[in-house]
Each structure stands twice: as C-alpha cells, then as structure tokens.
Symmetry: C2
Subunit: 136 residues, 2 copies
DNA sequence: ATATTACCCATGGAATTACTAGGTAAATAC
DNA sequence: GTATTTACCTAGTAATTCCATGGGTAATAT
C-alpha cells in the first residue's frame, strides 16, 4: 500500500473543493458530512493542506476553506507527497532513510529508484482537473 | 511503502540463490548468515517460497534450498506478489477489499487502476537474471 | 457577548509488521 | 538405530504505523 487513508481523503476533499469552485469558503463540517469522513480526523488533514498553502482558510462565520489556484495547477503528486510524507515504494529509498549497509552492492537499488521515478512521474502527470473529468 | 522487509528479503535471498547456481542445496543457516538476516524470520519466508514451488527443498545433511528454474524464469513481480500478498498501491484496489461505497462515483478509481497496472507491468518486466546484471 | 469557524496538542485503540521461541518431521552419517 | 542436520509448523510478542477521538485556544462575524 503506497497511499493510505490520509492521502485518499485529502484527494477526495480536494476534488470536492474543485467541484465547488473558488467563490465561497466551505466549512470543514460541511465537507466532512458530504464525504462521510470523521470531522476530527479530517481536521488534521485540512490543517496540513492549509499550512502548505494549498488552500485558503478563514475563521469565523462564513469562513472555511477554498482552493487558491485553478484545479489544473494542483498535481496529484504534490497533494499525496504532502499528506503521505513521500511516495517511496520501499523504505530503502524513502527520505531520511538510514543508509543501508548494502548500498554499495545492493542488486535491487537501481530497480527501486526506477520504480520511484515512474510513480512520481505518474502522479505529477495528473492534476485535480484531470480527476474531475474522469467520470464525465 | 509498497514493498516491506519481507518482500525485500525474499528478493535478496532469491538473488543469492541465483548467484550460487543450481548444483548444490544451500542450507537456510548459511543464507541467513551471508545476508545478515535473522534465521528464524527468514525461515517463514523460505517456507512460503518453497511451498509455492519457487524453490526445491530437501531435509537433512547436504540439504537446503535451491532454485528449480533459470533466473530469467522468475519475474520480480511473481516473487513480490507471493511474499507481499499483492502489490496494490491503495486498499481500494487490493484483492478482497471491501467494496467501497463510492465505487460508482469515485473520481480516483480509474487512476488507481492505471497505477496498479503500471506497477504490475514494471515488476513483471524484470527477472532475477536482470537483477544479477545490475551491478556488472 | 455569542456563535462560528479554524487551529493546536495530546491520547487511545486497532491493525500490521518484524521478529522470537520451541517444538516436530524428514533425511543423512556413523 | 542413534545422533546430527536440515526443513517445517504453530504460537506468541514487541514495535510501529494508522486511524481516529477529546478537549481545549485563537480568530472572525453578527
């Protein structure tokens, strides 16, 4: 499993915002109910997205979240890397991984690196706007 | 993380057997020491490989394990799928996954399916023999 | 002031992963 | 036929990660 609930929720929510447009702020509560996601859990995800500048957030009545760019400006890769903390297929190539003692002679490393690159290219080549179109 | 320690150990061990050739049986103990893997943990992995017919195993002195085909007859995909129990990138597309209630309207499902196919093709396109060549 | 919203910090339960322990069965060596 | 060497089997445990909850504080609007 390379993408957990957290990343999948983040994607769903971003798609949801993309569908709603950038006119209004939408409160977390509304999104959580519409998507059937625990409000509290979603909170932690929204905060990450907001702090990273993926969303605008305003407090108080009439507040909530909204996108601050057009859907085609968000790659799926950027959303997943942010919420999952990376997309490496194996721990060997993950960021901050302890250097493997077999790095020098590891037969598999070049393969893992090619895989990581392939996955990264895949997700960077898809945007929120593409996902919106999927089900037309 | 799509491939855990288990799958990576399995690969390393299979590479190791491929390097040693098919003349002799090699006892688990020797492989575990050579690779620096816990003997007991490796045992559980070897049993899976053996039961699936990836290796021949014989008991007693002079016994151990050995490959029963040429290295190019083993795809990396077959080894990983066996030891990891599948290679799905998300739980939504994993074997035996509970049908998602949003299957009908999920914007992301086609993407996950394309990703799974890409990963599967990647691993099925590489064999043990290819890994042996990596470091020449 | 009050209501509504986002933000922050800590905690708990469940599931998975990685590894350990202790035995049984099969084959060979003497 | 006993001892040794090997694979095989079942169970348990420790550590980690994942998913979610609880209880507050800060900012904005009416």
């Amino acid at each position: 499993m390379i993408v957990s609930t957290k990343g999948r929720y983040a994607l769903r929510v971003m798609v949801c915002f993309a569908q709603r447009g950038r006119e209004e702020y939408i409160p977390l509560k509304e999104i959580a109910e519409a998507e059937g996601i625990s409000q509290k859990y979603l909170e932690s995800i929204m905060t990450v997205l907001s702090k990273a500048g993926f969303l605008d957030a305003v407090h108080g009545k009439g507040g909530g979240y909204r996108l601050n760019r057009d859907p085609q400006e968000y790659t799926i890769g950027s959303i997943l890397k942010l919420t999952e903390g990376g997309l490496s297929a194996v721990s060997c190539t993950a960021q901050g991984a302890a250097a493997c003692s077999r790095t020098e002679c590891c037969q598999a490393k070049p393969m893992w690196e090619r895989l990581d690159k392939m996955i990264d290219d895949f997700f960077e080549g898809i945007t929120l706007a593409d996902l919106l179109k999927e089900n037309e």
